[in-house]
Each structure stands twice: as C-alpha cells, then as structure tokens.
C-alpha cells in the first residue's frame, strides 16, 4: 500500500516538469509564429494607435521574458488568465463551456469503440482462420482507414437526411438543455430526471459517437483477436478445459480477463487519440466541444487560451493514464507498484 502511495506521488510530481516544459514550448511556439491576437482580430480596420493601445491592454508590448514570467507566476497561482480575443473571458470559463461536450462525446465514442472492438475481436479470435476471422480482419483495416468527416457525412446523409432518424448536427434539440449540473447533458438529464432532454441528448449523441467509435474500433478488433488467441493457446486454458470448466467460464473468466491487459494499455493510449479524433467529429457534427474551439483560437493567436487549454488537456491526459495504471494493478495481480 505504501509503495502504491509512493508511486502515485511520484507520478504526480513528474507531471509538474512535464507541464512546465509543455507550457514553455507552447508559449514560445505561439509567439514565434507571425501575427498576434490584436492583428488577427482588428488588424484590417483599426488604426495604428488603436492597435498599440489594444496591445498595451493585453500586455503584448512588454518584452517576451517579462510576458513569460508574468504568465508563469499567474499559472502557479492557479490563474490561467483571460482570453485575448472577443470578450476576454477567463480561460477557465471558456474551457468549462466546451470541455463537458468533448468529454461526453469522447466517453460515448470510447464505449462504442471498445464494445465494437471486443465483439468483433472475440469473434475473430475464437474462430481463427475461418471466413468470419477474415471478415473481422478486413473490418478492422477498413474502419481504421476511414476518414472521420467522410464517415460522419455518410451517416448524416443516410440517418439524418434520408431516414430522418437522427439529427445531423448539434448537441441537443432546440430549447432542450437540461439544468446545469456537470455540463454532461446525458448525466444532467438523468440527475434532474428530465427524460425529454435525455432522449434528445441521446439522439444527438448517436451519430457522432458512432462515427468516432467505429473508426477507433479497428485497433481493438486486431488487438483482442491476437491477444485472445494467444491466451487461448496457453496451458492454463487447456488445464481449465481439461478440468471440465464450461467454455463460457473459460472464455469470460480466464481468457478474456487475461487478454485484457494489453487492451487496457491500448485504452489508455487511445484516450489521447480519441481527444484528437474528436476534433474532426466535432466539426462534422457541429459539436460545440474543445476541438473546434482550440483550432479557432490557434488561428486567431489567442495566446492565453491556447496555452491554458493545452495545459488543461495535458493534465487531463496525465490523470487518465494514471488511473489506467492503477486499474492494471487491480486487474493483474502480477503488477505491483
């Protein structure tokens, strides 16, 4: 137990230099690029004098080292600062406005991909060398190669325009937002017992999470297949079978659980990828999340928002990978920290 605590502590402490390095790199890269938020926003229309004034307001006229130190000291105090464009809203508010949408999409896309991956991978792994196996392998390659906006548009066209089953874009129906609790509409609808909102939120969530989930499921299909067939050939499986343990117990209790370790590793890694894939899905489905938001702010050189968002992302990914590591220990008794 003590060693586990030491491990968690070390991981958390290691996050600090990581964030510091990331922050410095992002700070420099954003400023090395030509252009700044004032030019990007009013560069065409405002006079020289007004541009100077706006730069002064934002502290962009100070020397770079000064801007950097000011920024660092603010971050250390837990203040991500204010956005530099539009209403100059606090960066943390901007993140809180967009992050729940991304998390909701990511979690459901993740669930779809894992579910699809395990089902198809198990089917292939259990029937190695058969036509089904071949079909599943082809499936995994094809979906992995799919371009998210293309798949999204096809689903929009078939299920949205032609069949009218699901909406083509947005996060929830007009005037259907549930009362704000967590910002995750599905969860908030359940918490506030708002079934109308829940139905609407799920309908809007279906196509985007299917798009994201299908594309990312290919990796799991292959992994589950390989991992499962390796495990199935091991002695303990043969021993279990010879003891007369039912095939279902062999599959679920022994084989899949052991095959799960590499899959779990992949889940941890995929999570960061999911956040990236979410950018394209968000754009295709007009999902008001972080991906499109961050892209827009990079274009307008909103220094503080980009820095803050990336730090936030990094912390989040670090947290997820820590949680995944802890789950290993729980699943695999051989792993001890």
């Amino acid at each position: 137990m003590a060693s586990l605590r030491a491990y968690v502590l070390t991981r958390i402490l290691l996050t600090i230099p990581m964030i510091f390095i990331l922050l410095t790199v992002v700070f420099l890269v954003m400023r090395v690029l030509p252009g700044n938020p004032v030019i990007a926003m009013v560069g065409m229309k405002a006079s020289e004098e007004q541009i100077r004034q706006l730069m002064h307001q934002l502290g962009l006229d100070k020397p770079l080292w000064r801007q950097y130190l000011d920024y660092l000291s603010r971050v250390l105090r837990g203040d991500l600062g204010n956005s530099m464009i539009w209403g100059r809203r606090p960066v943390i508010d901007e993140i809180m406005d967009h992050f729940p949408a991304t998390i909701e999409l990511t979690i459901s896309g993740f669930a779809v991909s894992v579910l699809l991956g395990i089902v198809t991978g198990t089917a292939a792994g259990l029937r190695r060398g058969t036509g089904l196996d071949l079909a599943m392998r082809v499936y995994s390659i094809v979906v992995y190669a799919l371009f998210i906006p293309w798949l999204g548009m096809m689903l929009q066209y078939v299920f949205g325009v032609k069949l009218g089953w699901f909406p083509v874009g947005g996060r929830i129906g007009p005037m259907m937002e549930p009362e704000h609790v967590t910002g995750l509409y599905v969860l908030d609808s359940i918490l506030t017992l708002n079934w109308g909102s829940l139905a609407s939120a799920l309908r809007y969530l279906t196509l985007p999470s299917l798009t994201l989930g299908v594309v990312l499921s290919g990796v799991y299909t292959r992994l589950v297949r390989t991992s499962l067939s390796e495990v199935l050939e091991q002695d303990f499986i043969r021993a279990a079978r010879s003891r007369g343990v039912s095939e279902r117990v062999v599959l679920f209790r022994h084989a899949l659980k052991n095959a799960f370790i590499p899959i779990l590793t992949m889940m941890g890694l995929q999570f960061a990828l999911l956040l990236a894939g979410a950018v394209l899905t968000e754009t295709t489905f007009s999902w008001p999340g972080m991906g499109t938001f961050l892209m827009e702010r990079i274009i307008y050189r909103d220094f503080t928002t980009v820095q803050g968002t990336i730090v936030f992302y990094a912390l989040f990914v670090a947290l997820v990978s820590l949680v995944v590591d802890l789950i290993y220990a729980y699943i695999d008794p051989r792993i001890r920290y």
Partner: protein
C-alpha cells in the same frame, strides 16, 4: 462439441447486444420527443393568432448559421453576425429601410445637423423601453456611447475617430459634437456600437460578453448557450410594430455541409450564412426548398504593394488588371453566387463606376501583353509574380481563386505566377509589414457609404494595414474633401474621380462582389436581403404546417 456451443453462445450474446442497441436507438429515434426538431413546439396553439382568419403562422422559426456570436456587448462586438443579432434585439439612432440602403430614423423621432455638419442634435422617441421595461432616455444613450469610448474595445474607433463629446440637453435630446464634419455620420450612427444598452445590466467599464439584457429592439434574448443556441422572443416593450414571429431560434453549425443537411433534414427552417457554392447549386430545384439571392456589399480584390519592385511600375500593375478573368472566377469557383466587380465601390451603390472595365475591359490578354512589352517583359524575360492567399479566413474556395488568377495571368505568356498560402494571422502580419507583394483580401463594410470602400484602402496612413502599399497626395486630398462635403452630388463626383484614379494607378484590383444567398423551406416568407447584409428576423413568417 462443447467448444462449438460455447462459441455460438458468445456470438448469440454479441448479437443480442447489437440488436438491443439498435432497438434502443430506433425507439429513441421514433419516439415523439417533446420538442420535435421537424415541427417546433406549439406550432398552432398557445399564443393568440396574429392575423385573424386567413393564413396561420407558426410562432417559431429556426435559423441555422455557421457564424458565431462573439460578444453580446456593443462595446466589443465587431463582426457581421453579432451585429445582425444586435440589429434584431436593438436599434440605433438610424437604421436602414429593409430592402434598401436608405437610412431612416430609428430610436430618434427627428434630428438636426448644425455647424456645417459638426453637431448632431438627436431627438429621441419618448416611449423607448428595454426588454425589462426600464425606460431608455438621452442619458442612457450618452452612457452607452461614452462606455464604448471608455472600454476601448475592438469597435471603439466608431466613436473615438469621430466624436469629440456627447451632451444631454434634456431627457429626450442628445447632442453629439464631432471632431470635424463627417458627411456619412448618420451611417455611423446606425452601427450597433451606438445602440443604447441598459446601464443597470452592463458593467460601466468592462466588457460583458454573454450579457442577455439586450437593447430596445423588436426581440429580446431569452436563452443563450454559446456556440449552440440563441433563442429570441418578441420584446413586449418595443416601440414599433411587433415582430411577425414570436420566437426565433438560432442554431450554430460548424460547417456549411452540416448546415445544408440540417435544412434538408427539416431541423431548421432557414440556412443562412454561409452555405458553400456547391451546396447552393445542389439545393436549387429541391422540392420544398427555396433559394434567395441578392447582391451583397461584400467585395474581394487583389492588393499590390507598390513599394516592392517590379510592382512600383504602373505598367506592370495595369497589365495584371487587364489580364484578370473575373467572369471565370465567378462562374467556376462560385457558381454564379458572386458577380464581377470593376471598382472598389460595389455595384449598385451611388457613385459606382465600372472604372476598370472602361479602362481595361475584362480578360484583355492583348492589352496586357502590350503593357508588359512596354514595361520591358517578353516571353523569354517573364514577369515573376508571387501571389499570396489564405484559406483560414476566406474559405477553401480561395485556393481555386488563386489558381484561376494564375491561369489568366499566365495566359499572356509573359508572366510566371508562384502561388503561396499562409494562415490568416501570419498573412495579415506579413502584409502589414509590407513583405507580401501581391495578396488577396476581402472587405465587409462597416457602414454603407462609398467612403468605407475607398478611404481605408487608398488614403495614406489609413492603408497601414496593407503595409502602406500606395500613397498619392492628390487622391488623399480628394478623399478628405469627400468626407466633409455635405452635398451628396458633389461627393458622388469626387468619388467618381477617385475611382478613375484608382483604375489608372491600379494599386488594388477589384475581382468580384459577393451575393447574399439564403436557402429556406418554401413555407417561410418575409425574407428581405439587401446590401446592408442583415437578415431582419422580425419580418419573417412561416406558414403553419398542416
């Protein structure tokens, strides 16, 4: 045997899961949701019918846009879409008569111009109220204008560049003293920067981006979820005719294709700014969908930095102006959703002359070759042009525009064009530093007056944003004179003269003028598009379905 049965059980299990998922999905999809997207809530019930027996109008219209609302604060908002929202929830001293570019009094009953155009006395309507019922007086308007100057946000120049000070004469009279006479000041008074806002709802010296207090216009904001949805309802205290549709819902889309599909799927009634040319082409002739088109006052042009050789040579610039093939760009890239433009002043605006067409024609390769020869170029010794464009601001069509410009110029056989692209912020910054010789830009007017289409481009110092590519003292004098001249006929003559000089010197070559295109369900009426480029939600009606 055992093994086989185990596998099939797993397969059956998986199958059941999949079937269940499909069933749940289908159930949710089929289930009549409380606010169906195809038919807005309370289509015919609820509010008393606005027009007694005849056509029944729906009380909700849903508009889809790919734009975003930046700041719901007149002191910071400086983009077309947010201004459109303000024009539906607020009103300034002046406004445009729908369907025209004619200015009419808005929240004022009358006004006087004194001291040769230097002083404006505004007499406010006495029954102006904000959406919460608090009255709006001269003090409120003064506070709102002074607040813009104090906050110094993006659009502050509308006040700082023109106004010396404001003074309350009485509760319903405001005096605005300008720094110098400005002929087009009523047009400036029509921008949302001059809209009154409630002082008890907006902080005095801070921007309030998500403020839903609104102004004194036909609608008020009842719901605002950033990047998702904006819900407007009729403002019961509006002084004028109440809006024809009680509720307007604006849904925000991230790309044009989703916007178009949302219209086809019936999720929205109107697909507004901005559809792709290809999507518009596709939607034409689709049953149940109607396309509306009208020339806008949004212009596109080529900027040549005359400080960079060989573009300091007038003959070179003239050759580029002559060879340009505007029609090909409008037809091929924009599929007829734009029209060729031969001046910086848009077609249809007073004082407009087709100066470039008169001087060079269009796609006049012969003339271009002659001019290039005079400038010392030949097929062996080609003029090399570095043409820059950006897709981050002007969209993916920009690469095609650049390709067609290159094609037309290279048709002379005496020009070699190298095309480069950069990201918006980089592009603007490099242009500003005077590093890019030939660039593509576009302009959305701030106020509808020829001044706004000429002065910022041609007046020395004002075109600093283009890297000060051009300076002509004679032209400066004419531009300054036209700004203070109050007689519109004299101004028109001055602007025509300016346009001729522009065509002769060709530091900027106009390409095309955008059309406003909107696609709507065919039961939507009251859509008025005009060069002011604002959609008036309060004029829209939708025939109730069924």
């Amino acid at each position: 045997m055992r093994r086989r049965s185990g596998i099939s059980r797993a397969a059956v299990g998986a199958l059941i899961v999949v079937v269940l998922l499909i069933l749940v999905g289908a159930y949710l999809a089929m289930r009549p949701s409380p606010a169906p997207t195809t038919a807005p809530p309370a289509t015919t019930t609820g509010a008393p019918p606005t027009s007694p027996p005849a056509p029944k109008y729906a009380d909700t219209i849903i508009i889809g846009v790919t734009d975003k609302v930046s700041d719901l604060d007149p002191a910071m908002a400086y983009d077309f879409y947010t201004w459109e929202v303000f024009n539906n929830i607020g009103e300034g001293p002046f406004k445009y008569k729908p369907g025209t570019t004619e200015l009419i009094p808005g929240i004022i009953e009358s006004y006087e111009v004194q001291e040769g155009g230097k002083v404006y006395i505004l007499h406010l309507r006495q029954n102006l109220k904000f959406a919460d019922g608090t009255p709006c007086t001269a003090q409120t308007l003064k506070w709102s204008i002074d607040r813009v100057a104090r906050i110094q946000g993006d659009p502050a120049w509308f006040v700082l560049d023109f106004v010396n000070y404001t003074e309350v004469v009485d509760d319903y009279t405001l005096k605005i003293v300008l720094q110098q006479p400005v002929a087009f000041f009523p047009a400036v008074l029509a921008v949302p920067t001059y809209f009154p806002i409630p002082p008890d709802k907006y902080p005095a010296d801070q921007v309030s981006s998500d403020n839903t207090a609104g102004s004194v216009g036909p609608y008020k904001i009842v719901k605002w979820v950033r990047d998702q949805e904006l819900v407007l309802e009729a403002n019961p205290y509006y002084y004028g005719e109440p809006p024809k549709t009680k509720r307007i819902i604006v849904r925000f889309y991230k790309d044009a294709t989703s916007l178009r599909m949302a219209l086809e799927a019936g999720e929205i009634d109107i697909a507004w700014r901005t559809l792709n040319p290809t999507d518009i082409q596709d939607l034409r002739g689709k049953p149940g969908i109607k396309i509306y088109e009208n020339p806008g006052s949004f212009i596109r042009y080529i900027v040549i930095n005359t400080n960079i050789p060989p573009f300091d040579n007038k003959l070179v610039r003239q050759a580029l102006a002559a060879a340009l093939n505007r029609q090909a760009i409008c037809d091929t890239v924009f599929m007829g959703t734009t029209e060729p433009l031969y001046s910086l002043v848009p077609n249809g605006m007073w004082s407009h002359v087709d100066a470039f067409k008169e001087k060079y024609g269009d796609h006049n390769i012969e003339l271009a070759r002659q001019l290039l020869q005079q400038a010392g170029y030949s097929e062996e010794n080609k003029l090399v042009v570095d043409l820059w464009y950006t897709t981050t601001h002007y969209g993916d069509t920009e690469a095609d525009v650049a390709a067609l410009i290159k094609a037309a110029w290279e048709e002379t056989g005496m020009i070699q064009v190298n095309v480069h692209s950069a990201e918006w912020s980089t592009y603007l910054d490099l242009t500003r530093q005077g590093q890019l010789p030939v660039t593509l830009y576009g302009w959305y007017p701030d106020y509808i007056d020829p001044d706004n289409f000429l002065y910022p481009f041609l007046h020395t110092g004002s075109n600093r944003w283009l890297g000060e590519p051009y300076s002509n003292p004679d032209l400066d004098a004419l531009l300054e004179q036209a700004q203070v001249e109050l007689d519109q006929n004299v101004r028109a003559q001055l602007y025509q003269q300016i346009q001729q000089i522009l065509a002769e010197d060709a530091p900027i070559i106009p390409i095309f003028q955008g059309k406003l295109v909107l696609a709507a369900k065919d039961n939507v009426q009251g859509i008025v598009l005009d060069p002011v480029m604002l959609l008036r939600y309060y004029l829209l009606v939708k025939l109730a379905e069924g």
